[in-house]
């Protein structure tokens, strides 16, 4: 099963973000966004390969993507 993940880069890896992207792709990440200003990469990967992405040099965290949900518009508390 592919799942969506958010990958955060270490400070010293931001300058070579393209190298890290290549290594993540090699590790099975289908990259959707490379957010250079914040050093974060998003994409999807098969569940069995998530853990190995965390071992890629320059990666500090691989987190499952979350969804936020506002209360319905008619709610008094937003």
């Amino acid at each position: 099963m592919p799942e969506k993940v958010t990958v955060s880069l270490a400070d010293d890896a931001v300058a070579r973000i393209d190298e890290v992207v290549a290594a993540l792709e090699h590790g099975g990440l289908r990259v959707e966004q490379v957010l250079r200003a914040i050093g974060v990469i998003t994409g999807s990967v098969d569940t069995g390969r998530v853990k190995a992405l965390g071992d890629v040099a320059g990666v500090v965290a691989v987190e499952p993507e979350r969804t936020v949900r506002l209360p319905p518009p008619e709610s008094d508390v937003q």
Partner: protein, 408 residues
Amino acid sequence: MVDDAADGMTGRYLLVLDDDFLDDTDRARVAVQEVCGGERPATTREGAPAPGRPRLFPELGVAVAELSPQQLAAARADRRLLGVEPERVRHAIGLSEEYLRGFRDAAQFLHAQLTAGAVAAAQFGDTEELTWGLQATGVAESPETGAGIAVAVLDTGLDLEHPDFAGRDVETRSFVAGQTVQDAQGHGTHVAGTACGPLAPSSGRRYGVAHEARLMVGKVLGDDGTGTDADILAGMSWAISSGAQIISMSLGADVRAVSTAYETAGRRALAAGTLVIAAAGNNARRSAGNPGFVGVPANSPSIMAVGAVDPSLAVADFSAASSTVDGGQVDIAAPGVDVHSSWPRPQVTRTISGTSMATPHVAGIAALWAQRTGARGQQLWAQLVQAAQRLPLPASDVGSGLVRAPGA
């Protein structure tokens, strides 16, 4: 009539000059002279001045002067001054009879208040001119407008044809696949209105804080009110690279653990001179004994978490309290109950509650501070919490207190 002397005031004012006057006595002297209507200030190096003559302490960047009401108003709007305050009479603390008498009076006063039940509570309300939130935070008295500062609101978009934003230069981008930035939900139009709505709306009272700020609207939540980390982080990245000094995020998930991705984004935003401000969350039910907890992303140490207070400046029933995770504290509070702001046509305005409504008050006021002092990022954060009005409430609920506009 207030009797200044009886009130402990001398009738003079302390003028606090901007930091860049510290090394330049001549410029400081000219600035004080202009504020005081042409009278050349004496410096501390010249010995005791003639009575009534302004006095400059160049090594402190502070002057003391008598000001007419017109001069006082002009001084409060003067960008060269960080503050203008009445000078007070102070006494050395020793066991003089006068000191003991003061101590006795204060103790009697406190005793009377405690036995009488409570200190008179504040009670704000919307007027024809202003929302209660703009009154309580001093926005109405602030000479700043947010001009020259860019505020990015990441939410459900904006009603681009709303009469209160007609003709406004708004930079927009949708990060939600297949949807335009047009707000079909309402939440985004409400929070953008509080942060950056106009000085004179098409109908009703003023509700917007930074009415001359450049408004950037990133749609990261869809028309159904949901959004993913990927879209929200993409919106943050866009706002930082597009030069926003402030990012307002009235969104979050009820998750205790800090997200590395949001903390990384918040930290890199601060380093780039962008302050990220987020809603603490609405997961408390205080009346039922549940204080809730600050969720993602507001619980990131590098993202400012905003709690909500009501028109009596009590913490809102729903407003999440600090959690024990590193960064899980509420940093500041703002008006978040019965908040009147813009809503998509045809309704045009609506009054709702939430830490979502408190957050854009802080974002707009941050723009006023950024305009006044030039502070960015971490320095802007420090100014906001430093200037906040302390409330008689636990810091775990309201952080350093009620956000306060500059010059108020």
